[in-house]
Subunit: 615 residues, 2 copies
């Protein structure tokens, strides 16, 4: 089955995936982005992987060429590309990509040692293998190999890479499995991967080692540092800390493990960590990890906007973890966070043309931060294409009693449900508009539930079945629409999507008396290029500011902009001055664009959190 | 002459130093701190240097023991202690300190190689010497040796350490002097030191090499990084960037060089860098260097309060540089910055008992940041004791036409001026009060000027000569009081010292609508221990807030506290919420203490910049 997270046989899953190829996206928001993914980003990243020797390294190993070029985690970049390309093929076959894929898979397969080991850097030096689990990313790369292999297998049915991954997995189990050598990865990722490999193979040893890698943390095996989430046992964590990507990948692995084992203690840790993150440590964009030092989470409410680190990968990991939490619970709060991070802090990681990437995602900038075609540590480019390739998988899910709509996207779906296929045609301009209409075509009439997600941002919504209002939505719930569905049943969900002026908790000291614009799941920013003649850092709004949301099909690939009757402050140029020094306020028409789309035009200052003034 | 910066023969100096032993400090603010310096801090730091093997390393070299314990810049910590202890002796002899000094000096002298080289780490391995000027701190340590030697010589008249320093200096000149090997130090400091060594020896080769070390930067000799201020030639700099301590030490060296050579181009660079720092990159405490990453200056207006780095050493370096700029110009703006950094961002670096030290100086904290007795990189403890040992040297200066009062401290001074000694008795409770009275006792009647510094913070002041008002002071000027001075001439300077509510430039985004309390040169903060039952991060003040300054002799060694009729905000505990969500404001009596004195009692939250509300 062509799915991203295969909970279809997970005993503790509340939701099960709908295959990628069951969904045909037909909207103006995601469809062009997925075309850019296939036409630009996947081939472009491939070229970068070739240019930088990352793919060639595998070929070098195969032919006994010792000149391995190496930067940390190089192999994983290739694996992540394979995963992205595989899932992208799953719902839209592209011969060119498939040819590239075959070549890369062949290269990878050819680099495996006879004992199953596969890590190009140490291909020729067995004495160095597994000596430094904290830093050397062998287990991290192995995890990405498994994910790639599972994706390639699910998407194409081809087993060769899966067999390679299984051989490496078994090599790892033999070395680090229960009763063997003690060790945990410095960079988690393999915990999720082993569970996914279990889902394909049903071999329980993969669950066992995933559990061991989670439960052996905090015993100082990799130095005991908080940055590596090794300062205390996972089950004792009550605050989300450490390297943001590592932390969230680890949580993703623990969630995957819970889905298979029902380990409640583990789940309670995950709930604590989720609250710590979502309630006290997350940017308004869904980005996380506020500190440059160690790429870590900060303390509670430590969310600097100008020097936000908010690595693209961390926002992606946030989507991935919340997706799993949603499957474990059916709780829409997880989808709220996934949606937020997806549309803002993750999507900002890639340029509109798919060829430039952010690593760091500031929420205010003087115009110096620009996306780059590549990074020496290339985790973000390869991660964002991977996330985009997953996208169709996020729209729908199923449960025993019904079909769940998680993310509204104009699309046609053919959803396998019970012993039939339910076709759902979805019409909406989401995320630019809150009206969503469905036509349901079951093969046969049947009673089941359609769960409609009412996002947390949506304070007012109404649900209609065949033109009859059946209820109002409550924010951050699934509206349970039970019916005997027949061919042509119609649902209409009307979600009001006003522009919201948002403020932050007063302990986010840097955001005191500052305000951000949000509309639906989209966070806005002001960019210099749209606001000539002023410095956007001088923008001020008050609570009654008039804002108009207007769709502009010609701007930034088509976006809803906000036209704002705001203000510009005027002041003397002193670093410190008396509070009595006057600040003048002058009305000014302003334009805001979606945060994810900034830095695609002329460089200049940008700001999300503008000044709040009282009138 | 027992002086810190000896500009007495510097052709381009506007001001000349007054010897440390000409000043007898008799106040309640500095005198106790200098007693703590002698009785606690200097012996305590000595113990740490012994405990950590830093002094023993020198003895190990002398006896051929290869077991050098090493952390970066270890030797410099010993040298800085020697410098501090030497200057502390200069104005208050202490037999115990002198005995320690003799022992340390003997250890240092014994570790010098026969070719003059002196760096304990490479004492036994000539092949490693001078191979990595960027990282290995040989030149940095050499600079501190010269400073220590000059201080010890000036204070005690003993030449042994000076001879050692000269031998090492000559070794360096022979290696890196004009026409020799190209190289610059990764960590500037030696630029100042060579000029001071020149001032003792009058050997011009030391000026030449100092100039070379300044002018060879920016040519990529140490990698071309901005962090090391090697990205462009010094003379082309127009923005203060890079590692804050390195940057300011380098500027200090360039200023020393200007004082001797009158190189105007160099001085123009220094003025540009000063404006860049003081107008756009300095904390309200005079602390600088806002970034954790690289301990560097941030961009313009990048001054996060909670994650301020503001290393103690950087505030100290700020004092040291501005002190030199003052001597070069007589411009009081430099003394304004020196005074600010001294009383706040530097003084916060040491506990009231002299035995604990801050490395990082946040301006808001949850109570986790505490001073420590020692650091593996011990630059800050050894630097703050050095700065305190300089203190009496900052009070007065002389010029050809008169005597300058830079810093008001109750004291008795016997100032060598022209061919006589002018005794000045100064009475004041500064920095707690703005009234300063002087009695002047020249040996003989003479016409000259007494320059009274009117600090930048002082908006209103009056000057009286023998009870007759002679004028009003203008902020950030020296009031030029010309008279024929006779025994018992009296001056009275009345400086109004109201509590100021200060705000920051609107581009310091994180400080928008936040307010700090400042009174005279002292910046205040709210600490949990003084404000029970509330969270000081919830404090709010408005422009008309009533504040009373009250001296409390029993608190924190005697401080003027601020009693504030302020407010506490009350709110729902949401990370993000609508701007329309109400924040309630409740009146509350509050107490603020000087920032430098925080974290000397029970741990808890602290904040400088509280919320500004409008009433």
């Amino acid at each position: 089955m062509k799915v991203v997270i295969d909970t279809s046989r997970s005993p503790y899953a509340k939701l099960y995936p709908v295959p990628l190829d069951a969904i045909k996206i037909e909207d103006d928001f995601w469809k062009p982005k997925l075309q850019v993914l296939r036409k630009n980003a996947i081939p472009f990243v491939y070229e970068q992987l070739e240019r930088t020797g990352r793919i060639e390294n595998f070929r070098r190993v195969a032919r006994g060429d010792y000149n391995i070029e190496w930067r940390i985690a190089d192999d994983s970049d290739v694996y992540k590309w394979v995963e992205a390309a595989s899932y992208a093929l799953a719902y839209s076959y592209d011969e060119k990509i498939d040819e590239l894929l075959k070549g890369v898979v062949e290269a990878i397969n050819g680099a495996q040692d006879e004992d199953g080991y596969l890590f190009t850097l140490y291909a020729f030096d067995r004495s160095k293998r597994w000596k430094n689990l904290r830093d050397m990313h062998e287990l991290y790369c192995a995890g990405h190999l498994m994910h790639a292999a599972v994706a390639y297998y699910r998407s194409t049915g081809r087993r060769s890479l899966l067999d390679t991954a299984i051989r490496f997995a078994d090599h790892i189990v033999n070395r680090f499995g229960p009763g063997r050598e003690e060790g945990v990865p410095g960079h988690p990722e393999i915990e999720m991967a082993f569970v996914e490999l279990y889902r394909v193979t049903r071999d329980k040893k993969y669950l066992e080692i995933s559990k061991a890698f989670i439960d052996k943390r905090g015993k100082g095996l990799i130095g005991g540092s908080m940055t590596y989430i090794d300062h205390k046992p996972f089950r004792e964590l009550d605050e989300i800390v450490g390297h943001a990507v590592r932390s969230l990948y680890l949580n993703g692995g623990a969630t995957d493990l819970y889905l298979e084992t029902g380990d409640r203690e583990l789940f309670e840790v995950l709930e604590r960590l989720w609250k710590s993150m979502a309630w006290r440590k997350m940017y308004i964009t869904g980005g996380v990890g506020s500190r440059y030092v160690g790429e870590t989470f900060g303390d509670d409410y430590e969310l600097p906007d100008r020097r936000a680190y908010a690595e693209t990968c961390a926002a992606i990991a946030n989507v991935m973890w919340n997706w799993r939490m949603l499957y474990a619970t059916g709780d829409p709060k997880y989808m709220d966070v996934a949606e937020l991070a997806l549309h803002n802090g993750a999507l900002s990681g890639i340029s509109l043309d798919g060829r430039e990437y952010f690593y760091v995602n500031p929420l205010a900038d003087r115009g110096k931060t620009r996306r780059k075609p590549w990074y020496e540590c290339a985790c973000c480019p390869t991660n964002i294409i991977r996330l985009l390739s997953y996208l169709p998988g996020l729209l729908y899910a199923i449960s025993d009693d019904g079909i769940w709509v998680n993310l509204y996207v104009q699309s046609a779906a053919r959803i396998p449900f019970r012993d039939q296929t339910v076709e759902i045609r979805e019409y909406t301009r989401y995320p630019w508009d809150g009206l969503v209409e469905f036509e349901v075509y079951p093969e046969k009439e049947e009673n089941f539930v359609i769960y409609l997600r009412i996002p947390g941002w949506c304070k007012s919504s109404r649900v209609y079945l065949d033109d009859k209002q059946v209820g109002n939505g409550t924010p951050s719930t699934y509206f349970k629409l039970e019916s005997r569905w027949c061919k042509g049943s119609r649902i209409r969900l009307e979600m009001e999507m006003p522009v919201e002026l948002v403020k932050a908790h007063p302990h986010v000291l840097c955001l005191w008396e500052r305000v951000a614009l949000r509309r639906g799941p989209i966070v806005y920013c002001f960019e210099a290029v749209d606001n000539p003649g002023i410095d956007v850092w001088d923008i001020a709004l008050h609570g009654k500011t008039s804002v108009r949301a207007i769709y502009d099909p010609n701007l930034l690939g088509g976006v809803t902009v906000l036209e704002v009757d705001g203000y510009i402050i005027e002041y003397e140029d002193n670093l410190y001055t008396s509070i009595e020094e006057e600040i003048k306020v002058k009305p000014r028409k302003l334009k805001a664009i979606p945060y994810y789309a900034w830095s695609n035009r002329n460089p200049g200052p940008m700001i999300v959190w503008v000044k709040h003034i009282k009138q």
